[in-house]
């Protein structure tokens, strides 16, 4: 018998569509409108066409910020994904200890960005902070005005804050693998690496994909932590795209230029997420 389908279910999607329209589509449309105009006093608009896009795309500051943001995302993904996977595979399967691990790892995730930035600012303080004072005791100067130290601190802070997200997502994925797979691997005499490569990775690929996408988007949009820790310095070396954008929109109040930057920012995120999604789905069949 032919299965009947009904399109009435689409009506159930309407509330979600209205929410998306209000929360995302309308602000996005406003940004597009701003990007082709020069805005004076917040409410007077003069048509400038594609001038902002040309200026932003040719701006060395924008190109440098974009490169820094992409580099930052690449570095934290290269550290957090393998580390999160490693932690997830080493966590106990069940029992009291697994619950304790889950709670402990959830703590950084529950900490607001603002607090994380402030805690790390205190932590690396040479006089009062544990890390800064330890380095000072060893005769080393923990100096956030040094480009390498500033970058290393922000990367370390992000790894501390977000590796647990990947670990917990992967742990949940690993828990869903039926025990029979491991029994079959044991019968076949599979090595630990073979189990990881041919059982665990294929089984958690969707979860891992979500984790990588979430971390890419979040790390590419990082704002609060570097703002609190380094204010984009020293000499703009930690000025990521988001800091550049906020500076343009809220401090210089160039809404047109900020609109053009936002659209380029959005298109980069869209392309990278779409590419990652397709590459990972294709590679894993």
């Amino acid at each position: 018998m032919e299965k009947k389908t009904s399109n009435k279910a689409w009506f159930l999607v309407i509330p979600a569509l209205i929410m998306v329209l209000i929360a995302a589509a309308l602000p996005m449309a406003a940004v597009v409108n701003y990007s082709v105009q020069d805005v004076f006093a917040g409410d007077r608009f003069v048509w400038v066409g594609t001038r902002w896009f040309q200026e932003v795309l040719r701006s060395p500051d924008f190109q440098a910020s974009l490169f820094r943001s992409l580099a930052f995302s690449a570095i934290v993904l290269c550290i957090e994904v393998p580390l999160g996977l490693f932690v997830a595979t080493r966590m106990p399967d069940k029992g009291m200890m697994s619950n304790i691990y889950i709670v402990l790892m959830a703590i950084p995730l529950l900490t607001p960005w603002l607090v994380v930035g402030f805690v790390w600012k205190v932590l690396v303080d040479v006089d009062a902070g544990l890390l800064g004072a330890t380095f000072a005791g060893l005769g080393l100067n923990y100096d956030l005005d040094n480009v390498f130290v500033a970058w290393a601190t922000i990367v370390l802070m992000d790894v501390w804050h977000w590796t647990s997200l990947i670990a917990l997502l992967c742990y949940a994925g690993l828990q869903s693998i039926p025990f029979a797979y491991y029994q079959a691997a044991e019968v076949d005499g599979a090595s630990g690496w073979a189990v990881f490569r041919y059982i665990q990775i294929p089984k958690i690929k969707h979860v891992l994909l979500i984790a990588v996408l979430l971390r890419f988007m979040d790390s590419f949009m990082i704002y609060t932590e570097p703002f609190l820790l380094t204010r984009g310095g020293p000499a703009k070396s930690t000025t990521f795209l988001s800091l550049d954008l906020v500076q343009t929109a809220s401090i210089q109040f160039d809404l047109g230029e900020a609109g053009a930057m936002s659209i380029i920012y959005f298109l980069i995120i869209l392309l990278v997420c779409w590419s990652l999604f397709n590459i990972m789905m294709r590679r894993n069949g």
Partner: protein
Amino acid sequence: MLSWMAWTWPTAFVFIGIFSAIALMAVLEVRNPGGNERDGILGLTTTRGDRLFITLLGSAYIFLAWLGIFGTPLWVPLGIAILWGGFCFWKV
């Protein structure tokens, strides 16, 4: 009510074009369900909607690249974007 959005006719036409294309996809889906799925030249399995998305995203990048390298006018990237759209719906 929407004065804060600072609408202009050119941007309005862009959005009308995008939403019309999405509406057209919906009509085509109702008339011919299944999304006309196929394995394209990029090694991706795409539906009509995927091909529209790739067309729009690629077109945005074509215009941005042209603006960044050559500036205005934009007739050439418009032609390239139309060719890109044709290629996407034909081969991708």
